[in-house]
Point group: C2
Chain length 353, copies 2
DNA sequence: GATGAGACTGCCAACGTTTGCAGCAAGAGT
DNA sequence: ACTCTTGCTGCAAACGTTGGCAGTCTCATC
């Protein structure tokens, strides 16, 4: 019962590759040799335990652990066609909105034994598809966060491999989006209750899907509350852009602003404060995302809370569902938002009432 | 001259795997069939162009492009023993110190045709090694940022695969560290020139290597400038911890604080401002990292600039050097720091002079 | 015209894993 | 004693790529 079909063919001295990392790795064949069984049996013992004799199995398990065996991803991948890896494309890791999403994607993926490959497009729209395509070779599925690529391209991408979109709905693909209606409605009502009758929307990138959503939701809320809505922008979701927005805002006659995201709002606050204005008194500012940064400024930023962690884990769940059953109809998950009131909003100055 | 050793064995209907992604992928064999050459020739044409006839090569290249051929990572990986992927372990993606590092690691790695797998330990020391070991199966080398694991364990890890440490020196492994001496010296001199004679260090995590470095460098600078040094902490590098530090600080008799990092400093500022103190007048605060956040507060945070982008790209360079030649002696790269003065530091109140 | 060199290309084995199939032994049923 | 089943295990092929080796063809040289 000697296993000689799977004997080792190299010793350390003749092994043709550097003896780093993977080359040192224990293989099925070595475990098999040590147990005097075939590689098939070892493979089954470790992946499909009911299929082998209980005694053999425990012996194999012990030896495998002892030798530090870990399956080669490449070998497994080659035969299964799967990589057990998902890709995640974000526009900017440095935008504090994304780290919580990334974290929850990773946590959920790790639970399900998937690795996560992350790509950062640096807000560069053209790189988005290229990075996604590059990743597609080495992942089973993709999560695209806040993509700005044209819808037709995204649909085509989603036909080539399972994709879940975060913060965007795309024809024929799963997505996780936030419903900003409630949050923005609360925000407008909040401002109205403070005496504001005019609101400026500091717009995000023109091609951004979520910017459209937010603008529309805000317009609806303003109409419903009989509030005049103005708009400035577009601004990139960056602090610097917010500072630029601040100056435009200050020269207007509006004392309340809702920004496309927290970064813009924080830039606005920072710049206004620097110019001597009292945010929360002379002017009210509201952000969207409720990132951890909302609490470091003074006054703290009133912001619309977005459930970032749920966003990430829902995306992973949707993606894995799709991997399990590719014929499943694409689903859209919608998450609620709500207003978190802090110090950056206050009673409208009398001159603006 | 028919190529029948490499003929296709499945058609779409009998293919046993879901027809998603990789399963659809064009293989060498298909390109070979379309060109009437062997897979070896295609392989060589695409990876080692001088080895095949110019005419054949261009034909192969054309067909490959046309068919959308992309090599299978798994197949290549299996034979080469390499994964063309590097792992990056960070304690907390949400800490604004890390995103710039992550970005530069990714950018440099991408230049060199490497993918990057990121793991976040959530500041959990015990997960650090576990994640690193998990990653080690699927990467050629690792970059560990600000690890807090015991040195002996790190040395052992570095014996198993190429590792480069960021923000920490480890026996027998490459590392990229920052030399905080200059920056802290400038910081102390700056405070002295403003009339401060006592400084409190808001300490980072006790096991953190860079916390040791910073504390030592600060102690040296204080001695040299005849300044009294006190210490509070340890604090986790998080805004919340900084707020806690603020209250401790306020009840002491020191009007100048240097924090382990920007997050702690920002938490301190936020809390002090909230309690009605004027940061930059009644009390001076200095951070370390000079993260983008330093500019969103009012006053803006005086901070010690750390060249995050260089940190990342140097780490990748060191790692790839080591992959190319495993026998290379491990190198340590040291990067300079400098003080960036903003509004959070000011003349010492007379009572403290 | 035989020989040799050189340029190119094909064959095959190998990487580590999974899995259909077949073989084998032991026990059950007739 | 025979078949039949059941439980377990081994064999071998397959996944896509690479690279050593050997074969073929062309052409120059003697």
């Amino acid at each position: 019962m000697r296993n000689n079909g799977n004997r080792l063919r190299y010793d350390a001295r003749t092994y043709p590759y550097p003896t780093w990392g993977a080359a040192l790795a224990v293989t099925l064949a070595e475990v098999a040799a040590a147990c005097n069984v075939s590689t098939s049996t070892v493979s089954r013992a470790l992946t499909d335990p009911e299929k082998v004799n209980a005694e053999t199995r425990t012996r194999i398990e012990r030896v495998a652990r002892q030798l530090g065996y870990a399956p080669s991803r490449a070998g497994r991948s080659l035969v299964s066609g799967r990589t057990d890896t998902v890709g995640l494309v974000v526009p900017d890791i440095a935008n504090p909105f994304f780290p919580p999403i990334i974290k929850s994607v990773q946590a959920r993926a790790r639970d399900k034994r998937y690795a996560v490959l992350i790509a950062d497009t640096d807000e560069h729209v053209a790189d988005e598809l290229e990075l996604a395509r590059g990743l597609s070779r080495q992942v089973d599925g993709l999560i695209l966060a806040s993509p700005r690529t044209a819808p037709a391209e995204l649909t085509r991408l989603a036909q080539q491999l399972p994709v879940v979109f975060v913060n965007r709905e795309v024809e024929g693909a799963g997505s996780v989006v936030i419903d900003e209606n409630e949050g923005l409605q609360e925000a407008v009502e909040h401002l109205v209750s403070l005496g504001h009758r005019r609101i400026t929307y500091l717009s995000g990138p023109r091609r951004s899907w979520s910017n459209q959503q937010r603008r529309d939701a805000l317009a609806a809320a303003c109409t419903a509350n009989d509030v005049e809505l103005r708009e400035l922008g577009p601004f990139e979701p960056q602090i610097q852009a917010g500072m630029r927005a601040a100056d435009l805002l200050q020269s207007s006659e509006v004392a309340a602003a809702i920004a496309y995201d927290d970064l813009i709002a924080l830039g606005v606050m920072s710049r206004l404060t620097e110019r001597g204005m009292q945010v929360g008194h002379e002017i009210s500012v509201i952000g969207i995302d409720d990132s951890p940064l909302s609490t470091v400024t003074h006054p703290m930023l009133t912001s619309i809370h977005v459930p970032a962690a749920e966003l990430g884990s829902a995306a992973v769940d949707l993606l894995l569902d799709q991997l399990r059953d590719p014929d499943l109809p694409p689903q859209t998950v919608k998450l609620e938002t709500r207003l978190v009131i802090r110090g950056s909003t206050g009673v409208a100055p009398t001159s603006f009432k």
